[in-house]
Amino acid sequence: MKVLVAIKRVVDANVKVRVKADNTAVELANVKMAINPFCEIAIEEALRLREKGHATEVLVVSIGPDACQEQLRTALALGADRALQIQTDETPESLAVAKLLNAVVEREQPQMVILGKQSIDGDNNQTGQMLAALANMPQGTFASEVNVDGDKVYVTREIDGGLQTVSLSLPAIVTTDLRLNEPRYASLPNIMKAKRKPLESMTPDELGIDISPRLTTLAVNNPPERAAGVKVASVSELVEKLKTEAGVL
């Protein structure tokens, strides 16, 4: 089966972003960018499905400016077979992203689409579920285990109280959680090879999708700062302060 993986170029997880002085957005100029960590897990899972013989082809797609080709090349170096960029300089909202991905699903007919559960920039946690709705497919979100068995996939999900396992008819949407796998690193020969793998580019117009935003960001502000705390010298001082000063014991 064909597996489609959607990835996003985001600020590197180790960067602490700063709000711009004019409070319109966060500062992204000259900030290190990377594949969203949950999307890396999605790529890895698709590669493992291919290694287990369930997947025959891994197609990776990303939506964004030409800079996101860098992340697509990384995915190819990790082992994806081919890549598709949906070229836009806009920042489409989750609904528009889901519509674009649904157009790709119609064109490519994958049996499974794997996405990260959320991107660490917008923290929306929406796209996979929205795509599942638009494609009329079942969804296995926040996956910690994925097992394909015939025309079904069993997905174990991280839920608030523990773990839940569901069975989904293929084709299905899976979104990854932290513990699903540990992504591999790309080797140098594979990075060289990836340069020759096919990378196609299309526009939202070519896919016939309207990506106009529904939300307007009115302001982006810093969160309230916590007042500086104090260091205590001992456990007894700590307990004393929690009892008298903070009043929480």
Binding site: V11, V26, D123, Q129, A133, G161, L178, G229, V232
Partner: protein
């Protein structure tokens, strides 16, 4: 379209009782209702969930409790709940659909939003007006104020940002809805739920969390003993989960649970951005770490630079 500016809240429940987060979500709904003038209805989708309906009808500020009780809704799979909610949104003429940003709400609401062809506004922390909300982005390092132009606003609520409403004092009308037939494309297979006498992390008054500094899962009982004295719940950082010390449902952070207890004690946690995102709105934060440069001290009200293996037994003893 009699309810053209009313609010529908999706209840979080386990077929036996409402989850506490529903009361926080209803507070967000009440604040919204104060701006729109619309009434608040509560939807309970489940099976054999009449006890939940009984509990719900006493909630103040709720006009109607809509109960869809049927086999297909036993596990509230999103494939089965979505058609119900989409139909209610359209027929009931609701202007806002709200759910708590739990794993249930996060799983369901975007599916509903997409079928209504509207954006979702995730994890709101403030209601500014009927169409404008504040939500954290970039792991809470920034707060975005966003305005929706959609006719129906689909929203998930960060429940730590809203106080719980009272659980009694109301007298809502209970309305039965017919449950949809199962979609057939997904099925519940099983679950493993953590069994604990402690409160859930998102409802705990005191949380004591361990990080990589705990060195192994076998040392977590040191935290549990302190937790016993405090009536606290034990949490963990992503590093501790990644290292395999404890299960993921204990994770506090950007990609785990967001908590804001009265007292949060971080033990052997360095304070990575993604952990701070999950706990920095706690009322009082205590950090115990032997590295005095650890970023956790920047958000802590009280810091103790010391070896946690000495501190924890001493803390347990002093709390006795």
């Amino acid at each position: 379209m009699s309810n053209s500016n009313s609010i529908l809240v999706v209840a979080d429940h386990d077929n036996n009782q409402l989850k506490a987060v529903t009361m926080n979500c209803l507070q967000a709904a009440a604040e919204l209702s104060a701006k729109t003038g619309g009434s608040v209805d509560l939807l309970i989708a489940g099976s054999n969930c009449q006890a939940v309906a009984e509990q719900a009808k006493a909630l103040p500020g709720v006009t109607r409790v809509l109960v869809a009780d049927g086999e297909s809704l036993t596990h509230q799979l999103p494939e089965d709940v979505t058609p119900l909610l989409v139909a209610q949104a359209k027929e009931g003429g609701y202007s806002h659909l709200l759910a708590a940003a739990t794993t249930t709400g996060k799983n369901l609401m975007p599916r509903v939003a997409a079928l209504l062809d509207v954006a979702q506004i995730s994890d709101i922390t403030e209601v500014v007006s009927e169409d404008t909300f504040v939500r954290p982005i970039y792991a809470g390092n920034a707060l975005a104020t966003v305005q929706s132009s959609d006719a129906i606003k689909v929203i998930t609520v960060r429940t730590t940002a809203f106080d719980a409403i009272a659980s009694e004092g109301g007298s809502a009308e209970v309305v039965s809805l017919s449950a949809p037939s199962a979609s057939g494309m997904s099925a519940f297979v099983g679950e493993e739920l953590s069994v604990s006498d402690r409160p859930e992390l998102t409802a705990a008054r005191v949380i004591i969390s361990g990080g990589r500094g705990m060195q192994s899962g076998e040392n977590f009982p040191l935290l549990e003993k302190v937790a016993d004295k405090l009536g606290a719940t034990v949490g963990a950082s992503r590093a501790a989960v990644d290292a395999g010390f404890v299960p993921n449902d204990m994770q506090v952070g950007q990609t785990g649970k967001i908590v804001a207890p009265e007292l949060y004690i971080a033990v052997g946690i360095s304070g990575a951005i993604q952990h701070l995102a999950g706990m920095k709105d706690s009322r009082v934060i205590v950090a115990i770490n032997k590295d005095d440069e650890a970023p956790i001290f920047n958000v802590a009200d009280y810091g103790l630079v010391a070896d946690l293996f000495e501190v924890l037994p001493e803390l347990e003893a002093q709390l006795s």
